[in-house]
Symmetry: C3
Subunit: 266 residues, 3 copies
């Protein structure tokens, strides 16, 4: 592997030494590693949010990319450090569900528990496995070390269940899963689920106190301060305000309900 890409996704923020320490550790082991930040601004300890951002970004990267994802509220406790190998990527991080959403779309080849101390830093803290375990493992992987060398096979891993959209009394119920930097509200309902439910019929979407009819193709079709619905770039139902902030306008928050209902057109 030449100049292999290692992505980093954490909740460490960018004020402290944490990210720099991880990057230095990797470069000490493999100076040719190409380090690319996905984000370090996952809300502290929010594994689900990390899982969501990772799921939206990981497949844009070249085959063989190593995705190093450390949102790790259980660091130092009994949660396992793991490596999951799919046909296209490597995922390194804690066994707490952070890979749940990304793995849904991947074909898994192998999974191992990281136990071989030969590939850890020699002085290991109880609070910073990002630097002491995960960064060196990712670095050695990028040098071509085989997955099975890092530890024994892992047969099952944690998948958090996130509320799947469900149909109740003839309505499709989802929730706001993520709010992006523009205030766009990303729902838990994906394009396929929405189309399965609505077929080609008219529908409306209730969110907060607003009702929105049908879908637009892009922000650009919306009026300047009116909420609109569309399928976002990640393939999920999204509520937006053209050149505005839907979160502020609709006064909603993560976890709030999204309800899709058919419209009786007669």
């Amino acid at each position: 592997m030449r100049n292999p890409v290692i992505t980093l996704l954490t909740d460490f923020g960018t004020r402290d030494h944490y990210v720099g320490s991880m990057k230095g550790t990797i470069l000490k082991i493999n100076p040719r590693a190409n380090l690319i930040d996905i984000t370090h601004h996952v809300s502290p300890h929010d594994v689900r949010e990390g899982a969501f951002v990772l799921a939206n970004a990981y497949s844009a990267f070249p085959r063989g990319t190593i995705h190093l994802s450390v949102v790790d509220p259980g660091v130092g406790g009994p949660r396992k450090p793991i490596l999951i190998v799919t046909t296209s990527y490597f995922f390194v991080g804690p066994d707490n569900g952070i890979f749940t959403i990304a793995l849904k779309k991947e074909k898994i080849i192998k999974a191992v528990v990281l136990t071989n101390p030969k590939y850890f830093l020699s002085h290991r803290s109880h609070t910073f496995h990002g630097r002491d375990i995960f960064a060196p493992v990712a670095a050695y992987l990028s040098l071509g070390v085989k997955p099975e060398v890092f530890g024994p096979v892992l047969n099952s891993w944690i998948e958090f269940d996130f509320e799947k959209p469900r149909i109740r009394e003839g309505r499709l119920l989802g929730e706001i899963f993520h709010i992006d930097a523009f205030g766009n509200l990303v729902g838990s309902i994906d394009e396929e689920q929405l189309l399965d439910f609505t077929k080609d019929h008219s529908f409306e979407i209730k969110i907060g106190k607003r009702t929105i009819r049908g879908l637009k193709k892009g922000y650009w079709e919306g009026k300047r301060s009116e909420p609109l619905a569309l399928i976002g770039s990640g393939g999920f139902l999204e509520i937006s305000v053209r050149e505005g902030n839907a979160k502020k306008r609709l006064k909603v928050k993560k976890g709030d309900r999204i309800v899709v209902s058919m419209i009786n057109d007669q």
Copy 2:
């Protein structure tokens, strides 16, 4: 081109998957691209602010650098995706004026509209051309693909007009164009305009409720909580407070008036 530099400037923030998705897309096409962030914290949809930051940073980069700048409130609408080639650089982004200030100092060789879908992602969203159009075009450019291959010649492009400083009733009028992270107030008046107006005579600068006499060379010449004026590192008139925050101290905001007047020295 070996290890060509591609800079990224957006209003995407760093909490979401957007920047990671763009970088992955580029590296999938050209694994040798050297990706350098200018900023991802342009105020959402603020094309002028993006134009200003780009104009201050772009010329520091090596010849041949590809500047990928995506502040794109009109994404998915009729605004054109464009490439502008100058004697030193490539500029890729939406045709909305974002290159206006940078291009003033550049000699333009060629401009094209990006229409050739061969160089886009095959599945194109209506909301994220940063990933689906601009990132792949920048990546192919960095591989040496010729500009004319991306689409037909573009004969004119949008330049927003920003208020140029003007002389009225014997006073030079400008505005606060940008406020940096230190609270320094960057004015729309550049060094040349100021010297043309003041010649070698004494002058004073009115901003908010304060009047400042003459220019200092550096922050260091100021008193610790007194506002001072100088020519900043970008070549513009700047109001600062030594080791302090001029924005908070003067209680001003972007767009506020700056007035330069001669002092009658008799």
Copy 3:
């Protein structure tokens, strides 16, 4: 040196053109430089905070890494621009104490004042030596230019004194030195000082209005909303709340007192 690493640590934030301008300047001189951010979010002008973050991150990097650290409230004034060479690293930045903590653990070989304008940008501002002096010097260093070429030998440099923990009336007194993005309170007392003081006896830690008994090994051993003390990944006494925010919970701030007392076990 092939693909030498240059780290960047500043208080420039990431909204403005400053960091991009520094990186472009370096790449224009050495296109092979591997630029790694430690942080750009040091609190404005806070040299001590910069020194602390640098001290925690620098030694993770490969031998030969050039650490470019620019928290520089005295820019343009009489403070000297300097280069300090140790057995493992190069440190480039202003002579204001920013390297104080990192250098405690390093063996210094040589120090020089940066005076040779041949290695500066030709047009030098009075307000942005990060771009005009420090970035080009780091770039030339990364090309293998010898330290002595940049200017005359420097015999002493500024070390700020930070309050060392001290024993008074049988108690060990320290302070909160840093608060990280999780709200963890990093103290000025390091592991060795704590062990020297407590030997193997029981002790308690007073901080704000709380008293904490003894040390945990990791966050994981704590109860979910109870403050706990441990030795953090940087080797300092740290007060944390498992999956919570100790800063908010204890209502404390940087500089607040930490008191360690022995417990009479009889």
